[in-house]
């Protein structure tokens, strides 16, 4: 019974969040386009499914994954945990936090796989490309990008380098890749940077960043705690473009082989 009430509460909150979007759509549909929405009943039911699904999803995350994930991020960055692995006395080195990097990579990968926005974009890309891009391989590629990004971002917090150097180097890599990447995939690659970080990833990753920055001596949460999300949105771009290039090179090699034989 309690659960039922909680579901209703979350559903209400989700509906309130959606009211701005819904009213914008309705106002433009009715006053500017001046046409009824096609299949209005089906769309309405589908919209309810989306809201209901999102409410269940958020409540479930709140109940099961977030408390545990956040607690883990705190425990892994806590001084006692890092200390117990430490053999030598004296200051910490960046590699004493190796569990943090592993955790960052695996939580980045796994939350990205479950990210609903990414699923939506991947489905659309598969549909538009006529199946040439598989939704699952796109998601896995993006997830690898996020994993690398968050792990590198945690390393940055531990060593205390300024974020801008990393981001700028990342930008330079993206720019260079843009010239070699198959043109068809560039927009999708850029998009995949933005969609990776949403409902599931942001709360966990933000907790990890702030936890790291507040436990490591000499780091301030103000300057160092933020920035993990930026890494998580930059590296998928690189990963998707790299994947596209690799696929291109492979097909070219195949073609050459065909010609020879």
């Amino acid at each position: 019974m309690n659960l039922f009430i909680e579901i209703l509460h979350t559903l209400k909150a989700t509906i309130i969040d959606v009211i701005p979007i819904l009213s914008i759509i309705l106002v433009f549909q009715l006053f500017v386009i001046r046409r009824p929405i096609p299949n209005v009943k089906k769309v309405g039911i589908g919209f309810f499914y989306v809201l209901f699904g999102l409410a269940l999803f958020l409540l479930g995350l709140e109940k099961a994954l977030f408390p545990l994930g956040k607690l883990m991020a705190e425990q892994l960055t806590a001084v006692e945990f890092v200390n117990s692995n430490l053999q030598l006395a004296g200051g910490y080195s960046w590699y004493d936090y190796y569990w943090v990097y592993i955790f960052a990579a695996s939580i980045g990968f796994s939350t990205t796989i479950a990210e609903p926005s990414l699923i939506a974009v991947a489905l659309k890309a598969e549909e538009v490309s006529g199946g040439a891009i598989s939704a699952n391989s796109l998601r896995i590629t993006v997830a690898i990008g996020v994993a690398v990004g968050i792990s590198l971002g945690s390393y940055r917090i531990v060593v205390g380098h300024p974020i801008q150097y990393y981001i700028i180097v990342g930008y330079v890599i993206v720019v260079i890749q843009t010239f070699y990447c198959p043109k068809l995939l560039i927009p999708l690659a850029f998009d995949s940077g933005g969609v990776t970080t949403s409902t599931v990833t942001v709360p966990l990753v933000a907790a990890l960043g702030l936890g790291l920055a507040s436990t490591i001596p000499g780091r301030s949460p103000l300057i160092d705690g933020f920035g993990l999300i930026a890494f998580a949105s930059l590296f998928p771009i690189i990963a998707v473009m790299a994947y596209a290039q690799m696929t291109q090179i492979k097909t070219q090699k195949k073609r050459k082989k065909h010609k020879k034989s």
């Binding site: 589908g46 919209f47 409540l59 933005g194 949403s198 933020f226």
Partner: protein, 245 residues
């Protein structure tokens, strides 16, 4: 009925597979690395069931509602031929969906608390609220602007990489001038703006528009709206930081 149930079951199993990696990661770290027992296992199981069910419903409803709405609106606007209405709609969509975005509200609040403890702004609740709201509106305007720019790009067929690279250059130059404490928040704000409802809607809008306009390729021109929405907030938030200091 049976058929429908089967489709649902298939989707349910698919969602479970999507979630499996998280379950494995959390279990591994809890038992093997941290060596702790699972607290209130019952609640966690219920939570996991809700997550899987929720994801199933979400994806099921996506193809029924958000995708068709986005596409039909794009086609209607293309038929109407009024660019100014389309751009107004784009701005409203970007601004409206971002300003109420829970993830952004949470991050803005957190940023305000940290800024107050860092002595950048006053400690009073009002100063913090003002800062958080300012941040929110800045990001929302940035996203509105981004969708407008992205839609214009689809209409005019500008190549995306020049715009994005130009944006990167602006970010890099501004980083040199923006105060240190805003940089991390600025870079992050690009990532948190795109919510779970906005992304499918905006993607369908772009793809729909690119398919409705002759000579546009939905793959090349249709995607890319989200990319702008995650770049402009970085620039706008840095401006916000520069104005404040």
């Amino acid at each position: 009925m049976n058929q429908q149930f089967l489709t649902f079951l298939k989707a349910f199993i698919g969602s479970f597979k999507d979630l499996l990696p998280i379950i494995l990661v959390i279990a591994f770290f809890q038992f093997v690395v941290l060596q702790q027992s699972m607290p209130n296992i019952g609640q966690i199981m219920v939570g996991l069931l809700l997550v899987v069910l929720g994801l199933t419903f979400f994806i099921y409803g996506l193809e029924m509602s958000l995708f068709p709405i986005g596409e039909s609106m794009a086609q209607a606007f293309a038929r109407k031929g009024s660019i100014s209405w389309l751009l107004t709609f784009s701005f409203c969509l970007g601004f409206g969906t971002t300003v109420a975005e829970p993830a952004l509200i949470a991050v803005a609040k957190e940023a305000a608390e940290i800024a107050a403890s860092g002595g950048i702004i006053g400690v009073s609740e009002q100063a913090q609220l003002q800062y958080a709201n300012g941040l929110r509106y800045t990001v929302a305007v940035a996203v509105g602007f981004a969708i407008v720019l992205g839609i214009l790009r689809i209409i005019r067929a500008w190549p995306i990489h020049y715009l994005i690279i130009g944006g990167y250059v602006v970010v890099v130059i501004m980083t040199a001038f923006a105060p240190n404490w805003i940089i991390g928040i600025a870079y992050d704000s690009g990532g948190v703006t795109t919510s779970t409802i906005t992304v499918p809607l905006v993607t369908a809008l772009g793809v729909g528009l690119a398919s409705a306009i002759k000579g546009r390729n939905p793959m090349i021109d249709g995607f890319g709206l989200i990319a702008f929405a995650s770049l402009t907030p970085i620039i706008f938030v840095m401006i916000y930081g520069m104005v404040l200091s």
